[in-house]
């Protein structure tokens, strides 16, 4: 042995969590540096402010809390926008690094592949959480801050649920980014996922309800169909919440369903963990 052995880096046992956090940290730093965070926050804030200011005009100071109206409007915005942002952010995660040549380098380091997947996910979730909280928070504060604790609690729950929904689509996008080799293919899959879960599924569901007259379907089947789509689970969760339920049509549906908020949160968590675990599995077995 040469004297190199003394000066060489002392190899430590690879611990998954700190490596994942290192990768998450880089993801966040890059997100801020390439203006992703800025653009997302501004977009969410601008749309949220528009909805908040337009939405609070008709109700004025009577009836439901003005913040509840904002909460409901923003929940509808989330269903369309947050999955899209999440997919745009995550479809590049693995396929993009592979194209730039940095994936080969990253995996030659003492890093577990599970840590790479987990780190990417955590970093992007932090970016999304930052943008959503700040963007929506600005809109809520624009309406006023002295609006009652219950309304603020409902608002906070909606923001939390939105981040959870974002997590679902981050995880789906990450899976797409892992199973394909090309970034452009991953992008195509991401758009497909968005169209399916956000638009097509609900249109088909609505068609089914109309065709059957809405009453002949057993409620268990309706619950299952709602639970199978994370955006519907989010819809039930936020639009059926106390204080906002009477503002929305789905609030009435929420009254009848067996899907309680804990179940809905579990559904969203499962939709996050499932694709993430699958992505980690596929990635661990992948040859480069």
């Amino acid at each position: 042995m040469s004297d190199l052995a003394e000066t060489a880096a002392v190899p430590r046992r690879g611990r998954p969590m700190p490596m994942a956090l290192t990768i998450a940290g880089r993801e966040i730093r890059e997100g801020f540096r390439n203006r992703w965070v800025l653009a997302t926050t501004l977009l969410l804030a601008a749309l949220a402010l528009t909805l908040a200011l337009l939405g609070s005009a008709p109700t004025g100071t009577v009836g439901a809390s003005r913040l509840d109206v904002v909460t409901v409007s923003l929940a509808s915005l989330t269903i369309f926008l947050v999955p899209l942002i999440a997919l745009l952010l995550s479809h590049d995660a693995i396929a993009g690094e592979a194209e730039r040549g940095t994936l080969l380098l990253l995996l030659a380091y003492p890093v577990r592949r599970t840590s790479v997947i987990l780190g990417k996910f955590l970093g992007q979730l932090a970016i999304l959480a930052f943008a959503t909280t700040l963007g929506y928070g600005v809109a809520a504060l624009a309406v006023g801050w002295n609006l009652g604790a219950a309304a603020w609690a409902a608002f906070a729950a909606m923001v939390g649920a939105s981040i959870l929904l974002g997590g679902v689509f981050l995880s789906l996008g990450l899976l797409a980014s892992t199973v394909v080799r090309q970034r452009s293919t991953a992008g195509g899959i991401a758009i497909g996922l968005w169209l399916f879960f956000v638009l097509l599924y609900d249109m088909a569901f609505l068609g089914l309800l109309v065709a059957t007259g809405g009453h002949s379907l057993p409620s268990l089947l309706i619950d299952m169909l709602l639970g199978l789509n994370p955006t519907d689970a989010y819809r039930l969760l936020t639009l059926g919440m106390a204080g906002t339920a009477d503002l929305t049509g789905i609030g009435a549906l929420a009254g009848q369903t067996a899907l309680t908020p804990p179940i809905l949160v579990s559904i969203l968590a499962a939709w996050t963990a499932g694709p993430l675990a699958l992505a980690a599995f596929v990635f661990s077995r992948r040859e480069l």
């Binding site: 040469s2 190199l4 060489a8 190899p11 690879g14 040549g101 990253l106 577990r112």
Partner: protein, 296 residues
């Protein structure tokens, strides 16, 4: 004392119907600079991926610092340095941020960064974003990354393609210092001329098979390529065995061991010769020779 740091035994790697590496035996030792030379697609990068544990051999065994790189021989990875071909780091990040990330992945302290920048001559550019770096600077940052933690095995894939000769020499000087300290250095390249004068040992691969392995001098001796001698005559000249060129000079080819006797014969009568040029076979000739021999 030299030890075997990387070893491939009977390694074959197939991707579907394509055989990227065929029945390869290769041992790399500490303190050695090895040039792995072959065309694009000859299987160089596949070999490197197997050494790093990023691809599994279809048959055969790969050992890296005594462990199986695909298995949980995880610790060995902290002791290797790797520079992939055409890597592009995030352009909006600074050099320091980029290198700090890789240092953390190797569990190194942040105080290793300044010496790392100094080693490749980038200390003044460390805090600039990579968007402002030239190609040579980016490649030097890539080398700095590979040198982090004083690795025992350094694997550089096409490290100098696109660099100017001065930069290339500087690059090899850094690498040679590491080899002198006992590290194994593997340089993959598509041309022998790229690695001229810097490798102790040359391994030529073609279509996934090793077709030559030895020092450059040994390869030259085995190939025994003819030397070209060209003369311009001053007087009468017996031109048997010589080819007359359009400009009036003569040229012939001799085997290396006939070169000196021929020169002695020509110079015996110095008045006869106005000028003399001896052209040794170039590295490209040598490389072409081995590839042709394989094709024949």
């Amino acid at each position: 004392m030299t030890e075997t740091t990387v070893s491939l035994v009977g390694v074959t790697k197939r991707y579907g119907a394509i055989t990227a590496v065929r029945d390869l035996d290769l041992d790399l030792h500490s303190g050695e600079i090895i040039a792995l030379v072959g065309h694009n697609g000859a299987g160089k990068t596949t070999q490197i991926k197997m050494m790093l544990g990023l691809a599994r051999p279809t048959t055969g065994a790969v050992r890296l610092l005594g462990t199986d790189p695909t298995g949980d021989g995880f610790a060995a990875r902290a002791q290797i340095g790797y520079l992939p071909e055409s890597v592009s780091f995030h352009l909006a990040m600074t050099g320091r941020e980029t290198l700090a990330f890789y240092a953390r992945l190797k569990s190194l302290e942040a105080d290793c960064l300044d010496p790392a920048f100094a080693a490749v001559g980038l200390e003044s550019a460390a805090n600039r974003t990579l968007g402002t770096y030239s190609k040579g600077m980016r490649q030097r940052l890539g080398l700095a990354q590979a040198l982090l933690g004083r690795p025992r095995v350094l694997i550089l894939d096409e490290p100098t393609s696109g660099l100017d000769p001065a930069l290339r020499r500087e690059f090899y000087a850094i690498v040679a210092r590491r080899a002198a300290e006992g590290a194994t250095v593997l340089l993959a390249s598509h041309a022998l001329t790229e690695i001229e004068g810097c490798a102790d040992r040359v391994v030529v691969v073609n279509c996934g098979t090793k077709i030559a392995d030895g020092t450059l001098d040994a390869l030259r001796a085995t190939a025994s390529l003819p030397v070209h001698v060209r003369i311009r005559t001053a007087g009468e000249f017996e031109d048997t065995g010589w080819r007359r060129l359009p400009d009036g000079s003569f040229e012939t080819q001799v085997a290396p061991h006939d070169k000196l006797p021929l020169l002695a014969h020509l110079l015996a009568d110095p008045c006869m010769i106005a000028d003399l040029t001896v052209t040794e076979p170039t590295l490209d000739d040598l490389y072409a020779h081995y590839l042709q021999r394989e094709a024949a």
